[in-house]
Amino acid sequence: MQCQETTAVAEEEEKGGALMEKKLKKKTLLFLPHELIIQILMRLPVKSLLRFKCVCKLWFSLISNPHFANSHFQLSSATPTRRILLMSSLLPRESRSIDLEAASSLDDYTASVSLNPNFMPFQSYSHIEVKCSCRGFILLHCYSQMMLNIYLWNPSTGFHKKIPLSPFVQHYHDFYGFGYDQSKDDYLLVSLSYHHLEVFSLRANAWEEIVATARLPFGRDDSSAAARPVVELLFNGSIHWMARCRDIYVIHTVIVAFHLTERKLLEIPLPVDINYNSSQCDLWVFKGFLSLWVSGYNTTVDIWVMKEYQVHSSWSKTLVLTNDFFHYISPICCTKRGDIIGKGGGTGTEREFHLSLYTAPLEHNPYSHTARGLVKYNDKGELLDHNPYDHTARGFHLTMYTESLLSLPSDIEQA
């Protein structure tokens, strides 16, 4: 196609005259080679790329190419644009995606995109929990009449896949995680329950029991907001959980890490003894370090940072956040500017509690997971902004994620 047009332009060049300059300029544009078009496309946001698929057949094939999706993700994860996905747990279901970098304030609705309900084939589930995310995919637990259905969903592309439940354990799992094994280019779901450690591989499309190297059992504490894995940054290739360990008579809290490539469990001790009766705590990633937040009865939240991974003596308390607006706050992530975004929660409504008993297993604690709004602090711990998104007091779940064009290694694609 390009050759024909070159000839056509060359013919017109012979005519000369005033058209010459315009034609030569056109010639320049035509000569933009594929590798340069790709370089430009690689720097576009996912939303634009999806829209530009229909520019022409060439662009469609360039953008649809899985290698392109990979390269695009690699480039964008150097300076990731973090988004928050909010989804109301109960029906009628609303969901929204907020661009944290674009939002000047938490009220900034120009940075917030309502996810089209038709985009989401999850309207039939009475109760949905947004769990965590990895490489643009969100892990969802969807309940209908006490039955758990697990989905992986890429909200940017609409791709979704249902994950079969583990054949080994019938009950709901205490810990679950979702991550990426770089060595095999595989996505893994990890389930850690009282005596079992299982891994689901997207490539193998099968669950596998793992013989645990660290001691089990680990249990989670329902009264805390814990028992959720660290989102996004699978720290050093491992999924991390907060867990409680029983050591004959003594119960202590510990971080459990599962390395996705080595398939091994290990324990990481906490900086301080945390009294679960009076404190809430959980893990997150702060400025590239594994971090722990702890809140007590008072309105402050302590932020601890592990300066050297797995080195207990490197824990140091770096920041204290004050919370005046919500019942509790928990940090989620940082923006590029270094501001801390947190979720603000309150106690669930009574209606919500009863509904969730009806639709979710008894172990599920409705209070600990639903959020009421977001908060923003600067890196000194000063409150910048807060926004109660949930005016109906129904509560929503949220997770931080980044957009990607990636698809899962599976045979059948549903979109």
Binding site: M1, L29, P33, L44, C54, F119
Partner: protein, 116 residues
């Protein structure tokens, strides 16, 4: 990096310079490229100031940007390529597919409707 750029400029024979850019503004493009390289090789500006300067440098018309991207690619100047590709991406990200086709002079606009 600076040595590569310097070598590239020194080793390009005079008649090859004519074939880098096909438009009538080729001498201007080479001047801009040299200006960029000189600025980035000098240790005078702070990182922040240099970034501001880059933004100003890339604030030009599409045709100039396309010429710059071709030149940066041919002359193997990665930081300039990165800057200009980023600028083009920034300028086109909000456009409609139709506007993109027009800009890149694409003839076979597909009527493919993207599934969403």
């Amino acid at each position: 990096m600076s040595k590569t750029v310097k070598d590239a400029i020194e080793t390009i024979p005079t008649d090859e310079i004519n074939s880098i850019s096909l438009s009538l503004v080729r001498s201007e493009i080479l001047t801009k490229v040299i200006e960029y390289c000189k600025k980035h090789n000098s240790a005078q500006m702070s990182d922040v100031d240099l970034m501001d300067w880059d933004v100003e440098f890339a604030n030009v018309h599409y045709t100039t940007l396309f010429d710059l991207v071709l030149s940066a690619n041919y002359m193997n100047i990665n930081c300039l390529l990165d800057l200009v590709c980023g600028k083009i991406a920034d300028m086109i990200k909000g456009k409609t597919p139709g506007e993109i086709a027009k800009l890149f002079d694409i003839k076979d606009v597909s009527t493919y409707e993207e599934d969403n």
